[in-house]
């Protein structure tokens, strides 16, 4: 290493260096054509600008397409596409990095485009867009043909000429640019626009579409390789013929279309049949139709005649069947009668069964049984009572006999008793009389005795007996007051007296003095 000189070198700030570089680069590379492969492309940013890289085997550079430029690009950026980009180099002082701002971009040669085409073809084929099963059948004779192409030039003229040669039709041309940046979008919109027409609307809806363009380079025909055109064609409900370029030109639209025509003129031939031929066909058919009908009729007529001749006489035909019919009729009436008879019998049996099981019959039967039972019950009851009555009568007789016997027995016994009573009675009478006599004797004796010891005897001896008004014996003077009536009994009779004084005083003489004559006092 060599030590660098220090003193006279100019010092730069980073900003100064960055600024100087920016000026130098932008002056030097204000317009460059740069060939490289697109890398890191992820579609336009939401701002509308597109950022990606351009690279080759050894180097890479950041690239940007501003929004305004992007919509004008002939070739849309596509990952892996080799392009020639035209633009200028700018730098970012803040990062000391540089980039290319692309103004124009085109594919880098046919090889690159072919590679892109092949890649897209594979992708859409994988999606099934080219499948045969998707292909729609073209109408044999379309009424309205929609053509998507440029309204001027040889192509539309060729198509219309060939159509009018073959079969003049109603043609609707949807004018589009067939080349250039907006071409693909216009073609796609035209296909969708035809499909959007309502059936029976003011503008007649085509029943066949032709997308046509004259010959050109691969780049010229590129619109018909664009995905939006291919998807519009794939979703078209109207059958579509592609007629792009010459016989040798191939676009992806040819794969998607329901039919590929080699040229625009060829498309017209595929689109309609030749009217004159059709007329001939129809006429030939009409002739065959008439002849066939006539022949058929003629043959029928011949058949009829032949059959009519072979037809036997109606009477002969009818004789045997009629005989059979007569016999059958006879048998029929007999059979009918037998049948009716059998049915009637069955009906009678059935109604008998039915009647037996009818409720009235059932009721009657039950009532009958009930009456029988009732009758038996009554009879049984009567018999029962009769038997009882008989038994009671027998018992009564037996009882009566027994009772009479008993009574007789008792009568006998009573008689015996009675005799014994009489016996006793006689004896009682005798005893009683004897006793009576004895008593009477004793009484007489007692009387004598009584006379001897009675109060009369006392009275005879001078005593008197005082009795009150009631006859009671007065045993005490205190029972008497002045005025009381007394009866005084004497041995020879009695006399009435009245008490006229008080009782004499006690233990005094005067008590003795007032003693009435004949009173008790006098007894002492």
């Amino acid at each position: 290493m060599v030590e660098s000189p220090r003193s006279n070198a100019l010092e730069l700030s980073v900003s100064e260096l960055s600024g100087a570089l920016k000026r130098a680069i932008e002056d030097q590379f204000g317009h460059v054509r740069l060939r490289g492969e697109i890398s890191n492309y992820r579609g336009p940013h939401s701002s509308g600008h597109a950022y990606f890289c351009l690279k080759d085997a050894n180097a890479r550079i950041d690239a940007v397409v501003w929004k305004g430029t992007f919509s004008r690009l002939k070739t849309r950026p596509q990952e892996g596409l080799e392009v020639i980009a035209t633009g200028k180099i700018t730098t970012f002082p803040g990062k000391s990095s540089y980039q290319i701002v692309i103004e124009q971009m085109e594919p880098a040669g046919v090889g690159a485009l072919m590679a892109l085409l092949e890649e897209r073809r594979k992708k859409l084929a994988a999606e099934g867009l080219f499948d045969e099963a998707r292909k729609k059948k073209l109408p044999y004779l379309p009424r309205v043909i929609g053509i998507v192409t440029s309204p001027t030039g040889a192509v539309i003229r060729d198509i219309l000429h060939r159509l009018s040669d073959r079969f003049p039709r109603h043609v609707l041309v949807w004018p589009v640019r067939v080349q250039g940046e907006t071409s693909a979008a216009e073609v796609a919109a035209a296909i969708k626009g035809f499909n959007a027409l309502p059936v029976g609307g003011e503008i007649p809806r085509p029943d066949l579409l032709i997308v046509a363009r004259g010959g050109g380079s691969l780049e010229d025909l590129w619109s018909f390789n664009e995905e939006e055109v291919l998807r519009a064609a794939a979703t078209s409900e109207i059958p579509l013929i592609s007629a792009i370029g010459h016989e040798t030109d191939t676009t992806l639209l040819d794969h998607v279309a329901d039919l590929r025509a080699p040229t625009p003129t060829g498309a017209a031939e595929k689109a309609v049949p030749v009217r004159a031929e059709l007329l001939a066909n129809v006429n030939a058919l009409a002739r065959r139709h008439d002849e066939a009908a006539f022949r058929l009729l003629d043959r029928r007529r011949g058949d009829l005649r032949a059959l009519a001749r072979a037809l036997p006489q109606p009477e002969n035909l009818l004789a045997i069947p009629r005989q059979r019919q007569d016999r059958a009729a006879e048998r029929l009436s007999a059979a009918l009668r037998a049948f009716v008879g059998a049915r009637r019998l069955a009906l009678a049996e059935a109604s008998r069964l039915l009647a037996r099981h009818a409720p009235q019959a059932e009721l009657q039967r039950v009532t009958g049984r009930l009456n029988t039972l009732k009758f038996r019950l009554e009879a049984a009851g009567r018999a029962f009572f009769d038997r009882r009555r008989e038994r009671y009568a027998t018992l009564g007789a037996r009882f009566d006999a027994a009772f009479a016997g008993r009574v007789r027995l008792l009568g006998h016994e009573l008689q015996g008793r009675r005799e014994r009573v009489q016996n006793f009675s006689a004896r009682l009478d005798g005893a009683f009389l004897a006793l009576l006599a004895r008593r009477r004797d004793r009484l007489a004796h007692a009387e004598k005795l009584l006379g001897a010891v009675g109060y009369e005897a006392v009275l005879k001896r001078g005593f008197a007996l005082a009795r009150d008004a009631e006859g009671g014996i007065i045993r005490s003077a205190k029972k008497l007051g002045p005025g009381d009536a007394v009866t005084l009994h004497f041995a020879d009779g009695k006399v009435a007296a009245t008490v006229n004084g008080e009782a004499p005083p006690k233990r005094t003489a005067p008590a003795k003095k007032p003693l009435p004559p004949g009173g008790q006092g006098s007894l002492f």
Partner: protein
């Protein structure tokens, strides 16, 4: 046989007419049916003729509205 919405196409009419002719030529149809077939064949023939006669060239150009959809048509002169 022909309604406004879905007219019988030329192709279908031709096919049916051919079938009818073939059936009549074979001759194995009932008489009643053959008459009906014949009448139907006549109708088809007329229909095909009509379709073939209606062969007027009419060339028009779509006029787009502001939204890009078809707004109307105008005559297109190519020559």
């Amino acid at each position: 046989m022909q309604t406004k919405d879905s007219p019988l196409t030329f192709e279908a009419a031709m096919r049916e007419l051919e079938e009818i002719v073939t059936a009549l030529e074979k001759g194995n149809v009932d008489l009643d049916k053959s008459i009906a077939l014949y009448e139907r064949g006549e109708q088809l023939k007329k229909h095909c003729d009509a379709l073939l006669k209606n062969a007027e060239a009419r060339i028009e150009k779509i006029v787009q509205g502001a939204d890009g959809a078809a707004k109307g048509v105008e005559k297109l002169d190519v020559e």
